[in-house]
Amino acid sequence: MKTAMTRRTFLTKGSLVIAGTAMASQITLFNTSTTQATTQYPFKPHAFLEIAVDGTVTVWTGQTNLGQGSHTGIAMIIADELDAAWENVQVKTAIAAEPFKDPVWHAQATGGSTSIRHRWDLLRKVGSAGRQMLVEAAAERWGISADRCSAREGRVLHPDGHSLKYGELAEAAARRPVPDNPSLKSPQDYHIIGSVKKRLDIPDKVLGKTVYGFDFTLPDMCIAVVGRPPRFGAKVEGYDTQAALAIKGVLKVVPLENRVAVCAETTYGALQGRKALDIKWSEGSLPHLNDETLDLLFTDHLNKPGATAERSGDIAKALAQADRTIEQSYKLPYLSHAQVEPINCTAHVEKDRCRIWIPTQGQTATQHTAAKLTGLPVDKVEVMTTPAGGGFGLRGEQDPVVDSVLLAKILNRPVKVIFTREDDFANDYFRPASHCKITAGLDKEGRITGWSHQVAAPSVMSRVMAQYVENGVDADAVSGITDMVYSIPNKRVTYAMVNLPVSVGWWRSVGYSINTFTVESFMDELAHIAGNDPLAFRLAHMEKDSRAYNILSLLADKCGWGDSPSPGRARGIAVASCFESYAAHMAEVSVGKNGKITVHKVVCALDCGTAVHPDAIRAQAEGGVVMGLSAAFHEKIRFKNGGVDTANYYDYPVLSMSEVPEIEVYIAESQLKAGGIGEPVLPSVAPAVANGVFKATGVRLRELPFKTGLLARN
C-alpha cells in the first residue's frame, strides 16, 4: 500500500525547503535545506514548503483531511504569498512533527475550525519567505539588486523582461538564509486567496483512490475487533475462546482490561470471531438508566443552584422591575458523530520505534498515548495521518490508539483495530445533552433589561482539559450564552454540571451547537412578546457587535426578509458567532396538517473574514445546513437498561436526500484575518427552522429533535 507519507520523500536534493514554527506567538522560519533547523531548534526537518528543481511546489501540512477542504486552502495561502503557479502546487500530509503543532494550542490537532485561522500569519510568512529567497537568488545571479526584480506565477522577472523559473532558482535559494520577517501582501494583491480553485483532494476521491485509515494495510498486518462493555460499569463474566478460534482466519483472542479483542487475518474473520466469542457481561452499575430517568436527572439539575459563569449588572433588580418577565425551558439530546468511516487505528511497534497510521484529529495526543504504552520517547512515535471519512470532533479520542498499540505489542506484528458501526454508536463520545431554563425581562419599549440562563449539562472539559474548568464552570457548556452577540444590561449565566458515566466529547460547533438553539429560539419568543419583527428586535440588541449586525443585515437583504414568502410558507431567522466568524440563517418552511415540516429553502450569510477558498467555504456551509437540519429533525441517542440503545443508522436516521432544501450561501466581503468555517456554519440552522415553524403555526418547538406531533392539526 502506498502511503506517500514516509520521511524519505522529504528533502529532495537541491530543493528549497522551508519550515516554520510558532511558539509563544512568535513565528520562526527555518531553511531546512541546510539542516539549519536541527541545530537551532529540536525538530526534525519536516517542512511546510518544498520547491523542487523541476518547479514542483509541495505544501506539507500536518492538518487532517476530514473533507473540510483546508488542505487546499492552506496550499492557496502559501502559494499566493509565494507567487507560485497554481498548476505546479501539490499538497501532502506530513508525518506528525513539531513544526505542525498549532501555534496557539502547542499540540498538533485538527479541530475548533483552527486549521487556517490559527496559522493565518504563519502560512503567509512561509510563502513570502520562499518568494523573497527565490527573488534574492535571481538577483544575485543577474548581479542586480533584489528590489529591481519581481515575482509572478512561479517565475522571478528581470526588469528587462526575461525571467527565471522557481525550479531553476531552488538550489541557489536553498543556500540563502531565511528572512526573519518577510513582508506580506496587501489583500488587494491576492490572486490565489479568494479565487475559484478546484480542491486538490477531490480527483482521487472521485476515482476511489483515496486510502482512508479503514482501508490501510501493511504486510503481515492483522485486524482486530474488540468487545467492549455494552452497559456502563458492566464487567466481563465469561466468553468462549475456542468458538472464536474455530472461525476461519482468527489468530488470537486477547483479553484486555475489561474488554476482549479478537485478532484475525481478515476483517470478516475478526467480526465473526467476536460474534462467536459471545461475551457475557454483568448488569452494570446503572441498570435503571434510560431516557426517562436521564430526563428527570437533567430536570433536577436545572432546579439546583448552578455555578456562576457570568454575572453583570443586577439581574434580580432587572427582573423585578421589568414590565414583563418571560421564562421558558429547552432540551437537547445526546448526539452521535455518526461519521461514515468507523473509528480505526493501525499500529506497528518495533524495538526502537512505534508507527501509527490513523485518521486522527489529535496527532500529538496519539504520540503521547503510544509513548506511554511502549516506553518509547515521544519522538520515536511516528504518526502518519490518513485521510478521514468525517470526524466532527470525535477523532481526537485515544481508545483505538490504546488498543492497537497494546495488541501490536502482544502479537508482535502490525495490528489494525477497527470499530463496527455498532461499536461506533455504543462507544461514541457524544455531544452532551443539555437542558436549560431562561428568564428574561422586557421593558415597556420592548427592550431586554435582564437575562438569566441556567444550563444543566455534562462537561466535556472536565474530562479533556480539566484545568479549564474553573469554580465548577465548564466554559464550553455555556458558550454562546456568555458570549452571545447581544448586548444585555443585566445578565446571569449559571451552570449545573451533570455527572454521568455517559462519555461526552467535542461535536461540530461544540457548545455553540447547543446554546445557539436556545438563545436564538428565546430571542424569537421575546421578539414576539415585544410585538417586534424578529430581525428588527435582534438588530436593536446588537449595539456592541457590528459584525453580527452586518451579517444579519446581509442575510435579510439576500433573502428578501421584507417580502412575503409564497402562500403557506413562513420564515425564521437566527444568527450566531463562534470561532472568529459569524453566520446567519433564514429558513423558509411550511407545515402540513399532519405536523410534517418541510424546509423549502435555507439562506446562509457568512462573515468568515478573508474567504480563502470560497467554493470550499460554500461546501462547508451547505454541509452545515444539512447536519444542522439532521440534528433538528432526527438525531437523538437513546439509552436503556444502563447502556446505549442506539445500534446503527436505523436507530439514528440522518437527513436524507429528499429532505435537503434548496440552499443559498452568501459570503460577506472582508479583508479581516481568516476565521473558522466548519463550525460557525451550523449553530443557527436549527433555531431558524424552529422560528419559521412558530411563524407558520404559532407553536414553539423547544426540544430537539423536533416533536412534530405538537404541530398536528385535526
Binding site: G67, Y212, T266, Y268, R421, Y649, S656, M657, I663
Partner: protein, 153 residues
C-alpha cells in the same frame, strides 16, 4: 473456491460462500474503494454494480455474486458523465461515501437518463452522506444527465 468477475477480470477466492461480498472485495481482492459504513444495507457506501444494477455489497454473499459481472468505481470509465459531474460540481467532502453513491447514480441514470428533481430525490433518498454533500450530488446528477443527453447517449 468462488469465481468472481470483477471489473472485467476473473478472480477466484478461497472464502466461505456466505461471506458478504463487501469483505471479499476489500480483504481478499484489495479493492478498498468499496467502503464499509453500516454493514446492514442502510447507507449505500458499499454499493457495487452487479450486472449493471446497484447492489449493497454488505448485504449479498460472495456465492450470490459469483459468476455475475461486478463493477466497482474503478470499472467505470474516467470520462463517464457521473465521474465528470462529480469533479465539475466538486461533490466530495470527506469523500468516503462517494464511490458507492456514484455507482448508485450510474445505475439510476442508466435506467432514467432524464430524471426530474423529484426522481433524483427518490432514487437517492436511501444513501447516507454525513458531510452533507447532498446539494452537490443533486447538481452532479443533473450535470451528468445533461451531458449524456448532449452526447446523444
Amino acid at each position: 473456491m468462488i469465481e468472481l468477475h470483477v471489473n472485467g477480470k476473473g478472480k477466484s477466492v478461497d472464502v466461505a460462500s456466505d461471506t458478504p461480498l463487501l469483505w471479499v472485495l476489500r480483504d481478499n481482492l484489495g479493492i478498498t474503494s468499496v467502503k464499509y459504513t453500516c454493514g446492514v444495507g442502510e447507507c449505500g457506501v458499499c454499493t457495487v454494480l452487479i450486472d449493471g444494477e446497484s447492489v449493497r455489497s454488505c448485504s449479498i454473499t460472495a456465492k450470490e455474486a459469483a459468476g455475475r459481472k461486478i463493477l466497482t468505481i474503478e470499472g467505470i470509465p474516467d470520462d463517464h458523465p457521473v465521474k465528470i459531474g462529480w469533479l465539475e460540481k466538486q461533490v466530495p467532502q470527506c469523500g468516503y461515501c462517494q464511490p458507492g453513491i456514484m455507482l448508485q447514480a450510474v445505475d439510476f441514470l442508466t435506467r432514467n437518463p432524464t430524471p426530474t428533481d423529484t426522481q433524483i430525490n427518490e432514487a437517492m433518498d436511501d444513501v447516507i452522506c454525513r458531510c452533507g454533500s447532498h446539494p452537490r450530488i443533486k447538481k452532479a446528477i443533473r450535470f451528468a444527465a445533461e451531458m449524456t443527453t448532449k452526447q446523444g447517449g
